[in-house]
Amino acid sequence: MGDAKQPPPVRTAAERAQFKRDLTEVVPHLRAFARGLCGHPDLADDLVQETLLKSWAAQDRFQPGTSIRAWTFVILRNAYLTEMRRNRFRGDYDETTAERILTAPADQEEPIHLSDLHRGLQALPPERREALLLVGAGGFSYEEAADICGCALGTIKSRVGRARAALNDMLSKGSLPDENRGKDSAHRSILDELDRVVGGSAKASPSE
């Protein structure tokens, strides 16, 4: 990864088959991450399909032995940011969708409803939401999350901390915002983020 543009080696048929198996295994995780990111099951699955196509096309750039989950999450994340930029996810979030997303077990004795949690999650600024999803749901380390998001370790830690604090606040005080409130400002903030983070490198390589 430290090397500059090295021409990727051409993969053998066996390697491609292995890559496909790895890719297949990671699909459920891609779906979970995508749904957490954008909140819509259908759009999330669209994103995952796109991610699979891009991952397959870019497989020569995947380094065997590294985490394919992390690698594909970067591609998914870039696809998501591109869609955000196209306004595709804007303003069409609703409660019905949220309930459809949730498949909470009925016998759950959680003091906090998962639907509230989901709503709170969606109300977070996107960069904090994704940081929390990666670390708190996906089980990535801070270091891995920082790699995936292309930002510094301290940035991820602070995003996760802020996301947790905000959710604590929303859930303990019952002060969940309207579904649509904050969406616009969140959208704007991620556009700023886009220019810094993604810039010209909206490609598949995690190291760029």
Binding site: P7, V10, A13, R16, K20, L23, T24, V27, P28, H29, R31, A32, F33, R35, G36, D45, V48, Q49, L52, L53, W56, A57, D60, L102, T103, A104, E110, P111, I112, L114, L117, H118, L121, L132, L133, G136, A137, G138, G139, G154, K157, S158, V160, G161, R162, R164, A165, L167, N168, L171
Partner: protein
């Protein structure tokens, strides 16, 4: 022996963190967050994904889409960079 360890919070997880320790403790909803994620992971995979993955078998690298479909082998042999 392992039960005692379970009850304490791993000190390494909050190491070097700028946010307060309180925020780094797993809040009440932390399990819910994993549950949300895992509930999707555990869903059966829709057919559309399997169909898409199946198609990958037909095209070796997806860059050269040969309309006739018989360029599959030549795409590999002709591309011998380095």
């Amino acid at each position: 022996m392992a039960t005692e360890k379970k009850s304490e919070i791993d000190p390494s997880s909050s190491e070097g963190d700028k946010t307060s320790d309180k925020e780094n403790e797993a809040p009440a909803w932390a399990d819910g967050l994993k549950e949300l994620y895992d509930s999707v992971v555990d869903e059966p995979l829709p057919d559309s994904f399997l169909e898409l993955l199946e198609k990958f078998d037909d095209e070796p690298a997806a860059k050269d889409s040969d309309p006739k479909g018989n360029g599959q082998d030549s795409a590999n042999t002709s591309d011998k960079s380095n």
